[in-house]
């Protein structure tokens, strides 16, 4: 069972990744899939910007433009940002809390494969009669009457991938609660673990309303229900509420782990303890709580009334307080530190002003009367891209550089990284800064073209140039990754030299069980404490060498996800659907539709029954085998990483 000794063929590697339950390998799967969808959505954004580069452009049609903007938003939020953050959560959180794996390794794999097949299903829409075209919010009044199967792909794809996300969220919560190493109390947990915990809790409470909303949309469109059809007594506002009760927390689901990543990066390169650790934890929890109290600020113009608008406006403004606490804590961590400006630190330094800018425009929109003016304009587009690109994407790029040594035993090139940062960062501000003013000048969002000489031409042109620069930045990052494959392995611990938390105490490449003995955590920043006391071993241990219990690999998560994938086609081509009846969308016979639905779900249920009837005790790596693996790893490192 050793991770080093066994040589595998190509097929063996594929099988290994299809069946893996190892959090480190699942992290790589998330990273690869997330990058793929990030690239697709980024390409869609470039097409959008090329279309808007000059007035009266006919580069792409209005219909295709709607599909592109819908898929760009949906993919970036659900299928790129979420899995990329999950990649780091999977790779780093178990190491940070001193665990050998997550609480539910099987569910961890299931979460990934559900997400992946949901994402693939959604993207098949491009080849099967048109992508969804009602915006990533897919308001019922629009989407209910959208011809073709686009919206059905959206509903079913997100339903499947959302289930995967929820499962992963539950897994992380339980992992962080029950699997912490001896001495790792809650108030000694690194900030990234804290933000992952709070973010997973938000997933736990935010995804069910989305599931409910998507289900209502599914039965409305595909099985003739009447939730949103006002002629049958339905109410289209219900979708907006359910969507935003999910949608607003979703923003915090994404940005909190990003905050956590920067809270790891900044102390390492300022070489100072994180300033105000307990206030950071408090602020994280407060943001998580308030995140659920503000959804209706997306609906100020719906007409909920002055009282409702006022309450939600005040609640929204209140979120700026804990967020401000965090910003000041980061600045005060840097203040007086012995700063090393590496690539991750560059991203952190770029993040603070960019994100603050996005936050300030957010508070502007929280004022309901002003929001009436800004609603549906490019000001909104500028605002949320400042938050998402300035906050989340910088975190992802920065922590890719930061954690690459742990995840792959290689380092990304610093010089190329600096170049990438500047190209991406300047491109980002070029793209979105001017869009604030386009919005104030009255340019509405989600329009496929505009007339010349309204004062929008120059800004749109510059904005598109910026988008191309961002695209170039991403390409450079990918090149950096490809170059890193050819670099020599690091074979060391604490690559940056100033690591503070547990993940840096381990020598790379990591054995599959992470810790040969569980570490004893003696305080906040446990590895820093050991280094200060001159411990050359990394950590002190809480237990003697002994047998290690590990989970078995399984192909079932993969097959279960295929089952839901098949069932989704059955629902999609339902002959009872509104569009099928109207003749605007293809359908199959009732028998075939039901056969696909029942067959697909049956396959999934069969796997669940197999899983529950067949006992799975995991296996024990015996003490001698652990010693053998450690010896092999030591030889491997001594030979410079050649087998």
């Amino acid at each position: 069972m050793s991770s080093v000794a066994k040589k595998k063929g190509f097929g063996g590697h594929i099988w290994d990744y299809l069946t893996t339950v190892d959090h480190k390998k699942i992290a790589i799967l998330y990273l690869a899939a997330g990058t793929l969808f990030f690239a697709i959505a980024g390409f869609e954004a470039l097409l959008i910007r090329v279309q808007l580069m000059i007035p009266n452009n006919d580069f792409i049609s209005a219909g295709l433009f709607n599909e592109l903007l819908t898929m760009h938003g949906t993919t970036m939020l659900f299928l790129a940002a979420t899995p990329l953050l999950f990649a780091f959560m999977n790779a780093i959180v178990p190491l940070q809390i001193g665990a050998r794996d997550v609480a539910f390794p099987f569910l961890n794999a299931l979460g990934f494969w559900l997400f992946f097949f949901g994402a693939v299903f959604l993207h098949l829409s491009f080849f099967l009669g048109g992508a969804p075209d009602a915006g990533w919010t897919s308001y019922a009044s629009l989407s209910l009457y959208s011809p073709g199967h686009g919206i059905d792909f959206y509903v079913l794809g997100l339903q499947i991938s959302g289930a995967g996300t929820l499962i992963s969220g539950i897994n992380f919560i339980v992992t962080i609660i029950t699997m912490r190493a001896p001495g790792m109390t809650f108030m000694r947990m690194p900030l990234f673990t804290w933000t992952s915990l709070v973010s997973s809790t938000l997933i736990l409470f935010a995804f069910p309303p989305l599931t409910a909303g998507l289900f209502l949309m599914l039965v409305d469109r595909m099985f003739g229900a009447n939730f949103f059809d006002h002629t049958m007594g339905g109410n289209t506002i219900i979708w907006e509420h359910l969507f935003w009760i999910f949608g607003h927390p979703e923003v915090y689901i994404l940005v909190l782990p990003a905050f956590g990543l920067f809270s790891e990066i900044i102390p390492v390169f300022a070489r100072k303890r994180l300033f105000g650790y307990s206030s950071m934890v408090f602020a994280t929890i407060l943001i998580g709580f308030l995140g659920f109290m503000v959804w209706a600020h997306h609906m100020f113009t719906v007409g909920l009334g002055a009282t409702a608008n006022a309450i939600f406006a005040v609640a929204t403004m209140a979120i700026a307080v804990p967020t401000g606490m965090k910003v000041f804590n980061w600045i005060l961590t840097i203040w007086g530190g012995s700063i090393k400006v590496t690539v991750p630190m560059l991203y952190a330094l770029g993040f603070i002003p960019s994100f603050v800018a996005g936050g300030v425009t957010g508070v502007m929109q929280a004022a309901a009367p002003l929001d009436y003016q800004l609603h549906d304009s490019y000001f909104i587009v500028a605002h949320f891209h400042y938050v998402i690109v300035g906050g989340i994407v910088t975190a992802l790029f920065g922590s890719a550089h930061f954690y690459w040594p742990i995840m792959f035993n290689r380092a990304l090139n610093e010089k190329l990284g600096v170049l990438t940062f500047w190209i991406f960062f300047i491109g980002f501000h070029l793209t979105f800064f001017l869009q604030h003013f386009l919005g104030l000048m009255g340019m509405p969002r989600r329009v496929f073209t505009y007339m010349a000489d309204q004062g929008w031409d120059t800004f749109n042109f510059i904005s598109s140039i910026g988008a191309l620069m961002m695209g170039l930045g991403v390409i450079l990052l990918v090149i950096n990754v490809l170059i890193s494959i050819k670099t020599p392995p690091l074979n060391r611990r604490d690559y940056w030299g100033d690591g503070r938390s547990l993940e840096w105490a381990l020598e790379t490449p990591l054995p599959f069980y992470n810790f040969k003995q569980l570490p004893l955590v003696r305080g906040y920043d446990p590895y820093w404490i050991e280094k200060e006391e001159g411990n050359k071993e990394g950590m002190v241990y809480a237990e003697p060498m002994g047998d290690i219990h590990m989970p078995n690999n399984s192909i079932l998560p993969f097959i279960m996800s295929i089952g839901t994938f098949i069932a989704a086609f059955g629902a999609l081509y339902s002959p009872w659907g509104d569009q099928a009846k109207a003749g605007t969308a293809e359908s199959v016979s009732p028998g075939l539709s039901l056969a696909l639905l029942i067959g697909g779900l049956g396959l999934t249920v069969l796997c669940m029954i197999t899983r529950s009837v067949k006992d799975d005790y995991g296996y024990h790596v015996h003490k001698e085998e652990v010693e053998q693996v450690e010896k092999e790893l030591a030889e491997f490192r001594a030979k410079g990483g050649k087998r």
Partner: protein, 208 residues
Amino acid sequence: MDVNQKFTPQNWPQHAETATMEGKNKFVGIWIFLASDTVLFASVFATYLALKDQGPAGMEFSAQGLFELPLAFMMTMLLLTSSLTSVYAMYHMKNHNAKGVITWMAITVLLGLGFLALEIYEFQHYVHIGFGYTQSAFSSAFFTLVGTHGLHVIIGLVWITGLILRNAKRGLTLYNAPKFFAASIYWHFIDVVWVFIFTVVYLMGVLG
């Protein structure tokens, strides 16, 4: 602790469900899952309340005229009793009495099946009188809310039946004790949700 160790009532741990790491994870996991399931039901409840009695112009159906308390009361009694019998099963688990666990879990399943039969009868009756799923926003919301609960009941019945069949002959171990415990917590949750459905849909429906 070895999960397959044979126990006697004398050395059976006080909390067998959380005696192993896997058991502890299952225990925390099912509670966390139920927290999220609560929000799912809250969403469907809110939708139902928003769409109650809403339909096309001149709709003849209303909650007041449609729902009948005697049937709903019988369903409530069946489900509440099944919750009690699952508690008996957990009581026997504490005493390491495998036969008691299996027997009382089987009775729980039977009561659950009775509930399900009444629910199917009720749905079939509504469809028969013209109150089908696609009839109005009200009907869609009603069938979705009560049907989501019914689906949870079916999942619970399949789950518990599977546990009974798999573990009928092999006694209680630290491997299967957490599984029974998680299933019983889930079953209580279904019961609590039904109490809310009885109140919000049937009682408030009939009282107007």
